[in-house]
């Protein structure tokens, strides 16, 4: 049995304590990571942006209600909350996704709302109202497009948060046992007590986590630039 072997030709990234090939584990670990990451990011962006939009636009009781909800969420520490959720429900992937998405939207909502409050006073919004535009139109055709760069940025941040959050959960042993993620790998290495020797086991998955997170961030920046109208058509000079 080729247990705990350092990288070789046959096993480019070495083997685990149980003799499993690290390289293939890393490759396989990509899928759940990205699935969870993207899904959760989409949920939190969708939720956060919409809450922020309507809260800022409508104001009044809706704003009060939603912002108090956000405040409550802020009061709850992320990881312990997730741990509780996972222990109460089963440790399935979909719950991880939901958990991540339903908690992390609070930041998005806050910032989006602030931007909406400022945008709301702009002349083109008043003009649109004067033209007879309804609420839905104003929110999604006028306010939202002007928030697009912000929303995209949060989508990317959401991806990063979700991936890291997921990794943390897996590391703590709360991930879905059916889908081994990078975080699980690190966790396993830790549990085996071989952190000081078997660098080939936990370094690759860690590096992957870092790489995807950074990549997501750069993607967000690129999207932001593309979505910026100033870039695409060249503005005027002074």
């Amino acid at each position: 049995m080729l247990t705990l072997r350092p990288p070789s030709w046959r096993h480019p990234l070495g083997t685990t304590w149980q003799g499993r090939d690290v390289f293939s584990q890393v490759l396989h670990g990509a899928r759940p990571t990205l699935i969870v990451g993207l899904s959760a990011a989409l949920i939190l962006a969708f939720l956060g942006v919409n809450v922020g939009l309507w809260s800022g636009y409508w104001g009044g009781w809706l704003d009060l209600l939603l912002m108090r909800l956000v405040d409550i969420l802020y009061g709850l520490p992320f990881l312990p909350l997730m741990v509780v959720v996972m222990s109460l429900l089963s440790r399935e992937q979909k719950y991880v996704i939901l958990g991540l998405g339903l908690v992390a939207w609070r930041d998005v909502a806050r910032v989006v709302r602030a931007r909406v409050l400022a945008l709301r006073e702009e002349d083109f919004i008043k003009s649109a109202r004067a033209m007879g535009a309804g609420h839905v139109r104003l929110v999604y055709l006028y306010l939202f497009p002007n928030l697009l760069p912000l929303a995209l940025l949060f989508l990317a941040f959401g991806l990063v948060w979700s991936i890291l959050g997921h990794a943390d959960l897996s590391f703590l042993g709360f991930g879905d046992p059916r889908h081994q993620t990078w975080g699980d790998m690190v966790s396993a290495a830790w549990a085996a007590g071989v952190m000081s020797e078997a660098y080939w086991w936990y370094l690759p998955p860690s590096a992957c986590i870092a790489a995807v997170s950074t990549g997501a961030f750069f993607l967000a920046r690129a999207l932001e630039e593309i979505a910026d109208p100033r870039r695409s058509r060249g503005g005027q000079f002074a």
Binding site: F124, K126, S127, A130, G132, N146, P229, R230, R233, G235
Partner: protein, 328 residues
């Protein structure tokens, strides 16, 4: 047609609550009265100019007339009907008759839509045209404001246009619904001085050719007089003088109106102008609902004791020229 009353303001007052907005009476901050008892009528085909310095409440009045803000007291009737009483659908249809253009050309259009799309919005909101028909209607509207020969403008974004072009596009957009009343809030203040006459000429043209009524708001008395038939002078939310443009300019009855006239920048400075009273008086940022008396009295060069005692009502001086001053 000319005698038909288009817009009527009846005792319009507006207060803004500042600071804490809690429902508990004891914790409320004092109100800021933007407008007090403003009344006027505007007949179809006419133009009314509203003049005042910053803080006079003129923009607030414009927003209320456009039903974008509700008066705290009083009401504004358009063709005899109060827009607040209209149902959602009726209100939407009503919106086609009254349009607004604002001061800042750079924030007047949605920055993320092309000019074509920006201008097509009113058509889409009211479902007035097919997608194909839109383009020609938009082109027609642009032509009517002097942007006709720049057909490549349609595909551009607002940030690619100059202030003058944007303001015209905003004007064209407001006209595409063929409104009966256009409310213009300082439309040329942010345009180059050399382009103002051009824009105003355009407004004059539209006024005369399309029988478009205008509510023209500005701080510049001469500019207002260039477009308006009648002028209303506002000071700290109250009407000081109301009358025909020519009359108000040539025979300004209220001391404040005279001050506005004297303050007009002239190309060749005429010394410090006899009527301009350099108001070195205490500059108070926000006057709370103050003591009784004429609001202009603390700064008025001709104030008498009775001016501070009781507020003068708007009374008829001659024909349809009204003034609120004890000394007129």
């Amino acid at each position: 047609m000319a005698d038909q009353v288009l817009l009527e303001a009846q005792g319009v007052s507006k207060s803004f609550r500042r600071g804490l907005n809690l429902p508990w009476p004891g914790l409320r901050s004092p109100n800021f009265r933007a407008l007090t008892e403003v009344s006027f009528t505007l007949n179809a085909g006419q133009t009314l100019g509203v003049v005042g310095e910053s803080g006079s409440g003129k923009s607030t009045l414009g927003l209320i007339a456009a039903a974008l803000l509700r008066p705290s007291q009083g009401r504004v009737l358009f063709q005899g009907r109060d827009p607040r009483l209209l149902s959602g659908r009726e209100l939407k249809r009503w919106r086609r008759r009254v349009q607004v253009i604002f001061q800042n050309p750079f924030s007047a259009l949605n920055p993320r839509m092309t000019i074509l799309r920006n201008m097509a919005e009113p058509l889409r909101i009211h479902r007035l045209s097919s997608r194909r028909g839109e383009r020609s209607l938009v082109e027609e509207a642009l032509a009517s404001v002097g942007l006709g020969n720049s057909s490549d403008i349609l595909e551009r974004l607002p940030l690619q246009l100059s202030g003058g072009q944007l303001q015209r596009a905003a004007l064209a957009r407001s006209l595409i619904l063929r409104p009966q009343l256009l409310i213009a809030d300082e439309p040329v203040s942010m345009l180059d001085a050399s382009h103002r006459a051009d824009f105003l000429g355009q407004l004059q043209l539209l006024h005369r050719e399309n029988a478009l009524s205008l509510l023209y708001i500005s701080h510049h008395l001469a500019e207002v007089a260039a477009v308006a038939d009648r002028v209303l002078v506002l000071y700290r939310g109250r009407v000081m003088e109301l009358g025909p443009a020519q009359g108000v300019l040539s025979q300004a009855l209220h001391p404040y109106t005279r001050e506005l006239l004297a303050a007009l920048p002239r190309i060749v400075a005429s010394g410090s102008g006899g009527d301009f009273h350099e108001r070195k008086a205490r500059e108070v940022i926000d006057r709370p609902a103050g003591p009784t008396g004429c609001p202009f009295s603390p700064a008025c060069p001709r104030a008498e004791p009775r001016c501070g005692a009781a507020e003068p009502a708007l009374k008829q001086a001659a024909g349809d020229h009204f003034v609120a001053c004890w000394l007129a």
